[in-house]
């Protein structure tokens, strides 16, 4: 029983991070048909923003020393700002470009961000000590769950509920949903393209910053490439979920996270190093079964 609980929390916590990542990517794809590969680099950027620029191995925290109540909003703001800036400086000028061009540019932007970090912080991963008491375990029904794991799950849940409220109950949310479905029609009804897209980027940046905070606390490491693996898995999740479907992105993010934890536990010892081969085989099967994704958005079919 306790073992099952432990696995369940592991699965949920890993899945949560992927779900947040997938959501950030799906939001942008929804309004712009852009797969933003720089998303992973926003995550790293937010983490490094806490540190004093230096090439030493041990990081000197700068704003990372602030109390949580200040640090968290500042990091979230930094995430939103870098995301909105990349929209204004790069993606806005590519709105009518084809999706491949936009995607390549997002790769390029990602490399630029990475190399800016490289210049100021060197390529070596740095130890970073953020709220270390969060790794202490708490007991739930006999299972010892790290507090941070619990927090990750709760935070993800809160973010999902808040985002749902935002999308369903606010004017911005309504406009965003409409724009994601039919951008030109939404504009003909007065929806401002720039405002909707900037809002999507801001929210996406907030999500990246949340992931950065969770990862930095969890691993105790700041690494320039730390966002990449998350971004890749999150991208896969958005594709299986049906590009553009927000619930699809969240559910598939959770599923992939859960699957990777379960495979890690239940695969025979010899097969464990090949866990990802199993995982991605499942992804391929999934896409063969549903090429448009499991939750592909059903757009209004024209009927006469």
């Amino acid at each position: 029983m306790t073992a099952v609980l432990q696995i369940l929390f592991d699965a949920l916590a890993v899945g949560s991070i992927y779900a947040l990542g997938a959501l950030g990517i799906a939001l942008i794809f929804g309004v712009m048909r852009l797969v933003n590969f720089a998303h992973g680099d926003y995550i790293a950027f937010c983490v490094f923003a806490m540190l004093v620029p230096s090439t030493d191995v041990v990081a000197i925290v700068l704003i990372g020393k602030l109390p949580a109540i200040l640090l968290i909003p500042i990091i979230l703001l930094i995430g939103a700002v870098i995301s909105v800036l990349s929209e204004m400086l790069v993606f806005r000028h590519l709105r009518n470009a084809n999706p491949a061009t936009m995607m390549i540019c997002s790769f390029a932007l990602g490399f630029v961000i990475q190399h800016v970090l490289l210049m100021f912080y060197s390529s070596r991963p740095k130890a970073i000590n953020l709220w270390s008491n969060l790794s202490l375990p708490v007991e739930i029904f006999g299972a010892r769950i790290p507090l941070l794991q619990l927090l990750t799950i709760i935070i993800t849940f809160v973010i999902l509920v808040a985002l749902m409220w935002f999308l369903k109950r606010t004017r911005y949310g309504l406009e965003m949903r409409a724009a994601a479905e039919d951008f030109t029609m939404a504009r003909m009804l007065g929806v401002r393209a720039n405002r909707v897209i900037m809002t999507a980027f801001a929210v996406s940046g907030l999500l990246a910053a949340s992931i950065g905070l969770i990862l930095a606390t969890q691993t105790g490491v700041a690494d320039i490439r730390m966002g990449m693996p998350i971004m890749l898995v999150a991208f896969v999740a958005t594709v299986i979920g049906g590009l553009g479907s927000l619930p699809g992105a969240v559910i598939c993010g959770l599923l992939i996270g859960a699957a990777s934890v379960l495979l890690q536990v239940f695969l025979p010892l010899d097969a464990r190093p090949f866990r990802d081969a199993f995982l991605y085989s499942a992804v391929i099967l999934c896409l063969l079964w549903r090429p448009d994704g499991i939750f592909a958005p059903r757009s209004a079919k024209q009927r006469v």
Binding site: L174, R187, A300
Partner: protein, 240 residues
């Protein structure tokens, strides 16, 4: 000064010229029918006014402001509301969300609820299902929804691309009744694309006939509809 003035616009899709030097002008409270055969450029004309396609030459102004080259959301703010070809219902939004989407730009916020009631009165079927997803509506119901949605934006000028498409004759009558009522009570200006001239004849107003991207005939709808020259122009008889 006219409300809408389209001056000598041409629109190209790649090499193809969909409009070739079209000019129209509309006064406030006026009704203008645009008719013409398939591929004449009727829908393209509306899209150009809305800002969804960009004219390659010529200019368009609405309420004394140049709107050609402006984004669609700007044109909407000047009081232009459109029911485009193909309806473009937001299928994942509820019916009421569809109806309220365009109200964000209205200055007369106090009129929104009253207008919503009017739309629900004209199309009671929409009221019944207002919290349901719009994507599951039938074609005719979607047509009602997009006409209602365009009215909810509180426009000065409403442009409707083939309002009769997919609607039962009784409902078409209701739609036209509503439009004409709004025209008479609020000075709503009507720009209506119809393939046939039957409605134009019943309703009255002005009519232009488009063919091959050009206006080939223009005049009073009732007079033209009874005229042999309309049929000839429509089908292109007597031209070489």
């Amino acid at each position: 000064m006219s409300l809408l003035s389209v001056r000598d616009i041409s629109v190209h899709y790649g090499q193809l010229a969909a409009l070739r030097g079209v000019s129209i002008s509309m006064d406030e409270g006026e009704t203008l029918f645009v008719t013409g055969p398939n591929g004449a450029g009727k829908s393209t004309l509306l899209k150009a006014i809305a800002g969804a396609v960009r004219p390659s030459s010529g200019s368009i102004s609405l309420a004394d402001k140049v709107i050609s080259g402006q984004p669609p959301e700007q044109t909407a703010r000047l009081g232009f509301s459109m029911v485009p070809e193909g309806r473009h219902v937001f299928g994942s939004l509820t019916i009421e969300e569809n109806l309220r989407l365009g109200t964000g730009i209205r200055a007369d916020k106090d009129r929104i609820e009253g207008d919503l009631e009017t739309v629900y009165e004209v199309f009671p079927m929409l009221a019944e299902r207002k919290d349901g997803q719009a994507g599951v509506l039938s074609g005719g119901q979607q047509q009602m929804l997009v006409i209602g949605r365009a009215l909810m934006a509180g426009p000065k000028l409403i442009a409707i691309d083939e309002p009769s498409l997919g609607l039962a004759p009784k409902v078409i009558d209701q739609v036209y009744d509503t439009l004409l009522k709004l025209r008479d009570s609020r000075g709503l200006t009507l720009l209506i694309v119809e393939q046939s001239s039957t409605r134009a004849m019943l309703t009255g107003g002005r009519m232009v006939l488009l063919r091959g991207g050009k206006i080939v005939l223009e005049g009073d709808a009732r007079e033209l509809a009874n005229d042999e020259s309309l049929r000839r122009a429509y089908f292109g008889f007597g031209e070489h």
